[in-house]
Structures are given as C-alpha cells and as structure tokens.
Symmetry: C2
Subunit: 170 residues, 2 copies
Amino acid sequence: MSSRPLPFDAIAEARRQWESHGWPAPNAMAAVTSIMRAQQIILARVDAALRPHDLTFARYEALVLLYFSRQGALPLGKMGDRLMLHPTSVTNIADRLEQQGLIKRVRHPTDRRTTLAEITPEGREVVEEATRVAAGEAALGIGGLSDRELDRLTKLLRKVRVDAGDFPEE
Amino acid sequence: MSSRPLPFDAIAEARRQWESHGWPAPNAMAAVTSIMRAQQIILARVDAALRPHDLTFARYEALVLLYFSRQGALPLGKMGDRLMLHPTSVTNIADRLEQQGLIKRVRHPTDRRTTLAEITPEGREVVEEATRVAAGEAALGIGGLSDRELDRLTKLLRKVRVDAGDFPEE
DNA sequence: TCAGGCTACTCCGCCGTCCAAGTATCTAGC
DNA sequence: GCTAGATACTTGGACGGCGGAGTAGCCTGA
C-alpha cells in the first residue's frame, strides 16, 4: 500500500492547522478526510482478499446483488440504481464478469432495449467462496470496531446518504 | 451522478438478505458498504465544488498540505506519506499541479534523488479561494450532520485507521 | 574506493469511474 | 399509425488510482 506509517495522526494535525488558519468547518473537513482515508483502507483490504478469486469489490458487489435477486437476474439499469453506479460502469463490470463466466447477458423477454445480467452456477459458487474468505477472515476489512460501533457508524453514514438523496428518509 | 433515487435503503436491504442467508458479519458488511457509498457521494460533491477551480479533491488536498507546510515545499515522498498516496499517484498529481502553475518542482539542496514540490503564489491564492467555496458553501460535502455527529464519525473512523496501522494509537 | 543495498522518483499498463455522444427500442399523443 | 421524446445500453475518450519494473543517486562496510 504505502511506504511507512506516520508517527502521528495526519488528519488531526491537518484539523489543527485548518482551525488555526481560521478556515471554515474544521469538523466537516476532518470527517470528510477520514471517510476518504477509511474507504481507501477498506477498499485495499477487501480487494486484496478478493484478488485470489479474481474479483474486485465492485464486481463482487454486483455478483452478490444478482445472487440475492429473486430470479438470479436483473436488468443492467436496475443494477446501476442499486449499486449507485454510472451506466458505463455497469457495462464495464458486466463485461468483465461475463468474460469470467460468472454472469451471462440475456435478452429481456419483452423489452428488447434492456439486457439482463444473469448469474451463472459458477458465479454462485464464486460468491459463496469469496464471501467465506473476504467477510469471514477479514471481517470485510473493518478491523477494530465492535458491532455496536459498526452500527453507530452505519447510522451516521445513513444520514449522509439520505441527505444526498439516495433514498427518502424513512 | 446516478439516474433515480431508490424508494428504500439499499444497504439495509442488503444487510437483511445477508443475514437471512446466514452469511458472516452483517454489521461489518453494512458498515463497509456505507463507507463506500458515503465516500462516493462526498467525492462527487467536493469534486463538483472544486471543478470551477480546475481542481480535484486529491490535488486540492496536496495543495493544502503544501500551503500548511513550513517552507511551502515538501519532498514528493513525504507528501505521499502524509496523504497516504502511492508514489505513482503523487507523481501524477504533481504533474498536473505543475502544469497548472500551482506548484513548482525544485531540486532538493543536498539530496539529488528527491524533488521538492513548492507551492507557488498562484497556488496559494487558488487554495484560499477554493477553500472558501468548497468548505464554506458545501460544508465540504457532508450535509446532514451536526458538529457532534461529525466528531463521532471522525472518532469511529480513527479506530479504523489506527487498526490499519496508519499511525500508532495515542 | 567501491560493491551492494536502500531510497526517491518515474514510466507503463490495468482497473474503475465519469462524461458525452450514438444506436436501438419503447411509448404517448395526435 | 406515426412522430417525438423518453429509456436502455454501448462506445470512445479522459482521469485518478494502484502494482510492478526501471533508473538515478545516496550510504554503509569491508
């Protein structure tokens, strides 16, 4: 990942500087930077755990979505909505997953504009195996937090998502 | 960003499915996914706010670091350590910032291996202006949280960073 | 003094993301 | 039924990030 750990908390230090310069919203700045860094850490860990299965987090997430879906298949557009991905990204991810034989593109029975992504039996196997390893061993990359803390974190971030208009409050 | 908001919380829904399949660590899974979404949301907002200044969050952060540094200059490697960036990314960011005239690459006085990035007067101006807009208006992209909540969030994520070995506990 | 290893940065290639534009298909209104 | 606009996906181009390999310069020890 990176070279050496720092002897101090770089974000706390930046917050101090920020405040002493009289810049606005130091708390928001620290929180934003923390989220960025946490995401980076977690993504790196999860991707590393998934690498033996030839998956990235994005592809794994897509695969899980299909795994959980009623028919094992979803329109690409719907996948994009669920995963909050740009249509282009969905196409890209579907390309790779199809290439790996983990999904199959299928014509929609009535609407010929839309293509369905359908998880293959091999795809199901891979999801189950990857989940055992990635989620089980690494606790999905989020080490030092208790269940209660994880919950608080999720709740706080839920507010951010609601505020961004991801989904309606309640 | 994306097409339409969902009528429900996709992460909560995924958590439910995850649990009902007996998969491990549903709380961790929900927290991880939440962090990913939140990062995506915030990055998009901040980048949008910075776009008029021709900056991305990564470049802005680098510029702020130099702004705050004692000499207004730092070795690229040190910047990577502080910002937790891959050396390649630092090179890339420095390239663009230099191209924009916001920093200048300078030879290190004694060690000819290392190059210093030095913020230019124009760079200082841009940072100040961008900060006023990005941090002031958008509260750096984190809308719906109070100062207390921001603080709790930062503290929780601090644990993640410590656990990842970013810096020593205390 | 000089050989070997370490450090600092850069180049190349891949991945995932976005934007803008293009094509095909559906649907609503006349 | 036909046209205009909406919808669904794909393509091409750009960017930021990472990993790995390469090069240049430093430094230690025999």
